[in-house]
Amino acid sequence: MAAEAIPLGARPVADAAPARRPTAGIWTNALARLRRDRLTLVAASILLAMILLAAAADVLANNLFQYGFTRQDLLNGYQKPTWSQPAFWLGSDDLGRSEIVRLLYGARVSLSVGIGAAVINLTIGLVLGLTAGFLRGWFDDLVQFVISTLNSIPSIPLLLIVSVLFQPGPVTLVLILGGLLWPNASLFVRGQTLSLREREFVAAGRVAGASNARIIVRHLLPNVLPLVFVLTAIDVGTLILIESALSFLGLGISPPTPSWGNMLTRAAQDLSRGPWLVYAPGAAIFLTVLCLYLVGDGLRDALDPRITRSE
């Protein structure tokens, strides 16, 4: 008998509780909802295809198009889009470079800058939003002060100055965008945290003696993660837009590295000679950002159990 007695503190509950039942959790439910959401699925597949194409840029340029992204051919400048030669499917630019190959390499730059900066944004936003929202007090005040200051500086002029000073390559640009544009994510996470911290499970955790760090990491973090996924999709889209605008102004990614934005700079210099040079990069930006926003919307609907899709 004595051997059967469970000593205090030996987590009797863990044994007594039935093994974790495969209840439909929020993620399972969300996945099920996503599977029915055709628009989001289409958008996600287009994005996936773009990422694959961007990743395969080298292979495609060497084998299919047989044209490097810096290769010039001045005799073939302003070549109209033509089916006969794969490299000129989308025409060529003023220096006779293949538009489609540059578009592929541009996808690499634009996507990785967008994703990289979004990761930084959301990491900062998540950490500050969670801690400020949970701890409140002077730390929250400090964070809110920094945010309201950053939000009061118009972002493009600020980015303009910073990128003039640092003359960024892709990596610096990621750091600049990531380091300056996190307030939005932080505000959203903080808002969510403020309402979560009043919930019973947080009080229960505290009664059970959990430290602040444990409450934040084990109880709050999993609850804000769905929001973070939605924010990521939308943030990547916004960052791609901002990067393209900066590069278009000649202050983001600078040539010869192609980015969708700086390809448009050259195109804008002589609109009437090569209109196709305006269509393709812009359409690429538009399509990518559109898909990201659609995926973000779809994720939000899928992760929010209150929303019925009857609308």
Binding site: F145, V146, S148, T149, N151, S152, I153, P154, S155, I156, P157, L158, L160, I161, V162, V164, L165, G237, L241, S244, A245, F248, L249, G250, L251, L264, A267, A268, L271, S272, P275, V278, P281, G282, I285, F286, V289, L290, L292, Y293, L294, D297, S310, E311
Partner: protein, 318 residues
């Protein structure tokens, strides 16, 4: 109400100093000695450089320099443009009204189109009208504004010659030629308001639907009011309130967006000035633009909060 406004203004003061501090630090981080940029460097002797540095106060400790610069800024003196050797404040006075014209018209268009679209979508919720407006809403967000501007120029100005390709006024035309001025405004204002229209229509749709689910709307319907009366009298006013909040973000977007759009349409405003200044490292202009732009933003945030306080008394006491 007076106390509320006062408190809101006082709250903005530390933010203003934060902005000037950031601006100043960025200026100081700038590579290259301002003296060398100003006077071309090369031909100067070391003692001449030292003399110039002390003449411009650059030999003082950084905190002293900051306070001096701040003192000048507070009296509206932003120094001299490196490139044009003109007072920066003069240049801003010339460029700011052009940008304000653009931004104000874009804001008006945003509200005039975005709000009705959102109400329409909510009114015909679930129908093809709703779907169409929602698709346009997402698309309007995702279009790069500068690309929309380029397309506008390419198709409507270059191919069909319906609108001028850029600038404020056709060269040689009379300065008060209103039709010509309006024609120049169409492209930039459209490009600048696109994202805002998308934003407002989405926002307005959500707000209207929210209000439509309230009890008093059910009461209004129950007493036999026509749907349009319910919508215009009972719903619209309440749904409009939260849109006041969106105004702050919208103005922030307009200030930033103008820089890119002015570049596309060769519009002689703050944006073009900032762009030219940034490219030629004309720091005094860039700093002035940041300070002026941020002040406009701060003021618009205060106005927004005051407006919100007027329509919703609970805010004032918070």
């Amino acid at each position: 109400m007076g106390r509320f406004v006062l408190r809101r203004v006082i709250q903005a003061i530390p933010t203003f100093f934060g902005i000037t501090l950031i601006s100043f630090c960025v200026l100081r981080l700038a590579p290259g000695d301002p003296v060398l940029i100003l006077f071309g460097g090369g031909s100067l002797r070391a003692d001449e450089i030292a003399a110039l540095r002390s003449a411009y106060g650059l030999d003082q400790p950084i905190p002293i320099q900051y306070l001096r610069w701040l003192g000048h800024v507070l009296t509206g003196d932003f120094g001299q443009s490196f490139l044009y050797k003109r007072p920066v404040s003069e240049m801003i006075q010339a460029a700011l009204p052009n940008t304000l014209l653009l931004a104000t018209l874009a804001l008006l268009l945003t509200i005039a189109v975005g709000v009705p679209l959102g109400v329409l979508a909510a009114r015909y919720r679930g129908t093809w009208i709703d779907q169409l407006i929602r698709v346009l809403g997402v698309a309007g967000h995702a279009v790069p504004a500068f690309w929309f501007g380029l397309l506008f120029i390419l198709i409507l100005s270059v191919q069909f010659r319906l609108f001028p390709v850029g600038g404020m006024l056709t060269v040689g035309k009379d300065a008060f030629d209103v039709p010509d001025r309006l024609a120049h405004l169409v492209g930039p204002v459209l490009a600048l308001s696109l994202a805002g229209i998308a934003n407002y229509s989405r926002y307005m749709r959500a707000e209207t639907l929210e209000v439509l689910s309230q009890d008093y709307v059910r009461t209004a319907r129950a007493k036999g009011l026509r749907e349009n009366v319910v919508l215009s009298v009972h719903t619209l006013r309440n749904a409009l309130l939260p849109l006041v909040t969106a105004l702050g973000t919208q103005i922030a977007y307009l200030v930033s967006g103008a820089i890119v759009i002015e570049q596309v349409f060769a519009w002689p405003g703050m944006g073009r000035m900032t762009y030219d200044a940034a490219r030629s490292k004309d720091y005094p202009i860039v700093m002035a633009v940041v300070v002026v732009g941020s002040t406009i933003l701060l003021l618009s945030y205060i106005l927004r909060d005051v407006a919100y306080g007027i329509v919703d008394p609970r805010i004032r006491r918070a």
